[in-house]
Each structure stands twice: as structure tokens, then as C-alpha cells.
Symmetry: C2
Subunit: 397 residues, 2 copies
């Protein structure tokens, strides 16, 4: 059984802060600084170029990928680290489209993170082969699936509302019409249990700086179903995805294995910091994490609805239909979030009126939730949103 009081002690949380924005940027693992020091001073500083071999930098993207694999229900050897989520989405979509050349529709939904839609638009424009990106309401995705669909590309948990798609069901339905499926796990990895292998998803990608606590700029991950690994083609044919990078051959030959999804030099220091975060994750039972996450989000919703009647729940009410975040709508939401931050409760705001709160069992407990709601209720009672200092504009996902 995971001891969440023990995991909380493994994070640095500033005094007086209740952090409900780990769905945007997770907090600093206490051990991360020492891990970074080792990479910077002992490996880079002392070994210099030799660290690529002696400190294992060359294999790090695969090694770290295997640790991520357990958290997302994937087999070892099917996940590799690198680049950013946008790049990894580009790789998956380019590979998928090339596997369904006769079909022209990329199906997504309006709850997808805009960046995924941008990547699809950029790729489609660049390919110039008549592809169409079709976005429908999340609940309309299933009805839209048909033999015209090349790829179903969805974000599993909606970045705004926390609404969670039924991955197994949609994957099965898409496969039934011959479409391939790509899952963006940005708000899922480390937030909910996943079973990529079990549901036979074709491709997936995610970032590691949110629930996984890998730090700002931590590398992304990419997953390929085992039977796609040795056939998928990426337009981003990079040196470290070559079968034999050190042959310096002039012709690209994709590597066997998930390494073919590597591109250029990995961000060694960022990945080492992520490794410190994964030392915590290696001990976590995902079912226990989910149970605790549901407890925390249920408690939050119950209390807010009881203490803050002006706020309107913007997330699905049944826990099975949402991830590990909760959103409420309120006309003065921006100012309320600023007032919360001023009082040590960090959530975030998304236009026009959405207040987002992420719940990460690794460092958020029931006491934090009760305290956060009490502060929120006080702000609402005091109508603190009217104060001029809370009226500026600034935000980051």
C-alpha cells in the first residue's frame, strides 16, 4: 500500500502553499537538485564527452522510457523519451497517416489541447494531400467514426474540464472501422491508471512536467504499439533514430526498436531531474493513487458545492468520467484565482471563466483540500474579486 504521507515529504513545497496546479507544472522533488548536481558536476564536469558512454547518457531515453512504460500500462521497449509533446504528436500523426494513405480524415474533438490541433494543421498543410482535420464535440466522436477516418487523435483527459474519454471503448470502436488511434496523455500520465497495451492503442505521447514532476522543460515520451515499432516511419528522421548512428552513413536507415522515434541529442540534464521524480513514481501503486485521487476530487467538489454556491461545476460529476483535476466556472474566476494565489492556494485560470484545480495524491492530502476550500469560501464571502490588485492578466498552462 502506498504511503502518501511519506511521498509528500519527498517534495519541496514552499511554506504556506497548497499547490493545486501540478496538472500544469508539478513541484520539485527534494532529490532532484542532488541528481542534477551529479549529472552536471560529476558526469559532465568530470567525464566530459566520455559521459555519453560511462554515465549512460546514450541509453537514458530508452531506460527512462521503460520506467514511464509501467505507469501507462505499456511493455518495456515500447516507450522512448525526447523532445516535446508537440514533436512527439507530429511523429505519431505522420506515422499514422502514412499507414492509411487512402483515408483523408483526422478526427479529433473540441476538447483536445489546441497544440495538438495546431500540429495536425501544420502537418496537413505541409503534406498537401487533401487531409482534413475534423473536430467534433467530445460526446460526438463515437458517432463520427467511420471508414473515412484515417486517425482518431484525442487528448485522453481534457485540459480544461478534466473530462476523461473511455480509452478502451473508443480505441476498439476506431479499430472496428479501420482507423488508427493516437492518445495524448498530457493530463493522464501520473494522474490515472492507464492500460495502453491492454486497449491496443496504436500510438500515444505525453509530457512529464505535469503530474510526473519532471520539472520545466522535462522531455516528452512516445509510445508505439509493439507491432508498429519496426514499420512506423517518421518524417523527423534524426541521427539518434538511425540504425547505426556512429557509422555516419549518408543514408537514413531507421533503427529497429522504439529508438527509431529518437531524433537529436536528448536533454540529458532535464532527463536526470526526471529520473529523480521517477524514483518516487517507481514505488507508487497506480490503483492506490487513483483511489486517493478520487477521494480528493470528491471531497473538493462536495465542499465547494456546500460552501461556495456561486461556483458552477465544470467537470463531470461521476469520478469515472474525469481525471485528477476539477474545474469550476465563475464570472469573476480570474480575480478569485489571483486572490487564492495571494493566500497561498495555487490553482489556475483559463478564459473566459474557468478555475482549474489539480489534485496530485503524491503531495496533496485531505487537509490541504479542506483548507483550500475554506480559503476559497472566505474569498467569495468577502467578494475579494472586486479588489484592483487581482485584476491583471497573466497565465500559463
Amino acid at each position: 500500500m502506498t504511503d502518501f504521507a511519506a511521498t509528500k515529504a519527498k517534495f519541496h513545497l514552499p511554506k504556506g502553499v497548497i499547490y493545486l496546479d501540478g496538472n500544469s507544472l508539478g513541484p520539485l522533488p527534494v532529490a532532484a537538485m542532488e541528481r542534477a548536481r551529479r549529472t552536471i558536476e560529476s558526469e559532465w564536469g568530470e567525464l566530459l564527452i566520455r559521459a555519453w558512454n560511462l554515465a549512460g547518457w546514450m541509453d537514458q531515453p530508452r531506460r527512462v522510457g521503460d520506467r514511464i512504460a509501467r505507469l501507462i500500462g505499456a511493455a518495456p521497449g515500447t516507450v522512448v523519451m525526447g523532445d516535446t509533446l508537440s514533436i512527439k504528436m507530429h511523429q505519431t500523426l505522420a506515422a499514422a497517416l502514412s499507414m492509411r494513405p487512402e483515408r483523408k480524415v483526422v478526427l479529433s474533438d473540441t476538447g483536445n489541447f489546441p497544440s495538438d490541433l495546431y500540429i495536425a494543421q501544420g502537418l496537413i498543410e505541409s503534406l498537401d494531400r487533401g487531409h482534413v482535420l475534423k473536430t467534433v464535440a467530445p460526446e460526438a466522436v463515437e458517432a463520427e467514426l467511420g471508414e473515412h477516418v484515417a486517425v482518431l487523435m484525442l487528448t485522453h483527459v481534457d485540459y480544461g474540464s478534466g473530462r476523461m474519454h473511455d480509452m478502451a471503448r473508443l480505441t476498439q470502436k476506431a479499430h472496428a472501422v479501420g482507423a488508427l488511434v493516437i492518445w495524448d496523455l498530457a493530463h493522464s500520465a501520473g494522474a490515472v491508471p492507464l492500460d495502453l497495451a491492454g486497449c491496443k492503442a496504436d500510438f500515444a505521447a505525453g509530457c512529464t512536467y505535469k503530474y510526473l514532476n519532471g520539472g520545466p522543460g522535462a522531455p516528452a515520451f512516445i509510445y508505439l504499439r509493439p507491432d508498429h515499432i519496426d514499420t512506423a516511419r517518421t518524417a523527423l528522421a534524426g541521427w539518434l533514430g538511425h540504425e547505426a548512428p556512429f557509422d555516419f552513413a549518408r543514408d537514413y536507415r531507421p533503427a529497429r526498436g522504439i529508438e527509431r522515434m529518437r531524433i537529436g541529442t536528448p536533454s540529458v540534464v532535464q532527463m536526470s531531474i526526471l529520473e529523480a521524480a521517477l524514483d518516487i513514481w517507481d514505488q507508487i501503486d497506480m490503483a492506490a493513487l487513483r483511489a486517493r485521487s478520487v477521494e480528493l476530487t470528491e471531497l473538493f467538489i462536495d465542499r465547494v458545492e456546500a460552501q461556495c454556491p456561486a461556483l458552477k461545476l465544470d467537470s463531470p460529476r461521476p469520478p469515472a468520467m474525469r481525471g485528477s483535476q476539477v474545474s469550476f466556472r465563475f464570472e469573476h474566476g480570474y480575480a478569485v484565482i489571483q486572490a487564492l494565489i495571494a493566500r497561498g492556494v495555487i490553482g489556475d485560470f483559463r478564459a473566459p471563466d474557468r478555475m482549474r484545480f489539480g489534485f496530485a495524491p503524491l503531495y496533496t492530502d485531505h487537509g490541504d483540500v479542506r483548507c483550500a476550500v475554506d480559503i476559497l469560501a472566505k474569498i467569495l464571502t468577502e467578494r475579494a474579486w472586486d479588489r484592483p490588485e487581482y485584476r491583471k492578466v497573466a497565465a500559463v498552462t
Copy 2:
């Protein structure tokens, strides 16, 4: 006048090591650890999500780009940081090809770093519009330029031999036939003075972990000529290249300004380490650096030719025709490099018989060069390459 004894003290060099592989991975700036600590502990740890604004993370890629700009002869606002050199080359090539839709030839040379060729091959295959990658010998590039050429894509300084193209001349010749020019500056940035603006180069990209000493996984940079910035299209349409990322609009609208070449979340920690390296670079006069670099490479060549007659120079003899590295060929080169490393002189080896040595005036002085050659001569005299411990295989660019 730059004081190179003072700059040498700003790097951590392991005791007993003469480091001649900064063309592959530069050494650790002494101030880098403290800069990393600030980003990790004071910014990420204390400010959490707020650091994107309060610590300036959001603007960091542009701010750092402006510091790189001075080193490569570019104006402020024409360089931005992010991703890896391979990704940035993909962006430049995709943009360039879309600007010459009627032409089908990408011209490069056999001295290009293979990864650039892979990126071109991957893009061409993905576009499937009849483009051809043509590679000719470096000295044949000029004769091959004609109105069939869409893009001339070259690495300025050859990663193997150090041979340097005449950037101004080739750019002008390419423009004369209506072709666009992309320069890969991996082995040029921080190695030789550059004048991208003066020679009217269309696009350039480079990495920062070699001569610029940004550390393993440091971000790449991309340059666009000012008149291309607001028209270039990238297939990699990412969130942070959007005109208004925080509108979360569903349609991609490229940013005005060099920001449109940004893609996803920047590697904040790696870029902060690079900033510590740039604190040194900000003080460097590039003409003085070049003068010193030529002194060091000339001294090295003279001494090796005098003391090690079995070695054959593989770099151009006239300093004006090479960058800041020198290569020699020798049948037992691999074992000789291992023997050198065992005695504290770190160079590297590229198959089949090339020994590479990089000379970085920031931390390499005339005494280092003399000492390195004495050790090399001793190894050759002793025929140390016959020893079994020097016969393994391993290498990294």
C-alpha cells in the same frame, strides 16, 4: 582585448586533462551549477507555475536567442532557441521548400553531417512531391548551383575535417540562381566569426553544446533572415509559435516575429545552464577568438607534422579554409585516441582512421597544445596502439 587566461579560469577542467573535444561537448562553466541551482530551487521550487512569468521562463528562448545572435552576426530578434538542431533544420528546410514550390532539388555536399541529410530525406519522403536530395563533393557545390536548385543546405564547417565553406561566396552564388540557403552552424557557432546578416543567408541553425559550452542537451538555435520571419511556414506548428498561445484558439495562427519558430515547452533548466555559458561569451571579441584559434591550430599542425611524421593531415592547410578543429589520419587512429585519453588528452575518433582535435581558445592555451603533441609523439614512438586495452569500440560526436 579578450584575456584568455581569465576565461580559462571560468571553466571546470578535470585535473590532468587537456580537453580537445569541445567541438563535440564543451566543458562545464564554473558558474553553471549555481545557475542551475537558482532555476531548480529558487525558481521551480519556490515559484512553481508562477516562474513562467516571474522568472522570465516564457521569454527565455528569445532573450537567449538575442545573445546567440551577436556571436553569429545576426540582428536581435532574428534568433530563437528550442528543441534540437535536427528539428530546427527540419523547420528551415520545410520553410525553404515551401518558398520555392516549383523547384525540386535540395543541394548538399558529402561533408554535411549525416543527420542533416537524414532530416532532408525524411522530409522529402514525407512530402512525396518529387524532391531530390543531391549531394556532391564540397568543392563541386558551386558548379552544381543552377535554376533547378530550390535550396542549398550545407554545414559550414565539416564535422570531420574542419574544412570551412566560404559562406558569403556560396550564399551569393546560390542567390544568383534563385536558390535559398540554409547553413548548419554546429561547428561554427563559437568557433569562428560569422556574419549571417552581412552575407544575407536565408536560414541557419546550430547547437549550443559544442563550442558554446551549454552542456549535454542544451537547446538549439534557429535564425531567419528578417524578411523571411513573417512569411516562413513551419510544418511543426506548435503552441508557443502561435500568435496568442493563451487564447487557446483551435486554429493555428503563426506568431509575428521569430517566435513563430518556437514549438513546445522550452527546456528551461538546460537553457539556464546555457545562460551561464553565455555570461562568458558576452565578454568575448570574436576577432580575437579567431586569431587565437588560428594560432592554436597552426601550432598543433606544425608540431604534429614535426614530431609525428606517420600522421597525415586531414584538414585544409590554409587557416582561412578551416574552422577551429584539426584532423589527422592514421591507420591505428582508434587505439591512439584511446591511449591519448588514458594519458589525459581527450580528442576523438571517427571511422575509419580519423583523429579529431578541437581547439577552443576559451580554455585551451599554447601550453596545452605543446603538451598534447608531446604525449601524442610519445605514444607513437612507443607504438602504444598495439596494447590490447586500447582496442575496444565506442564513440560519440
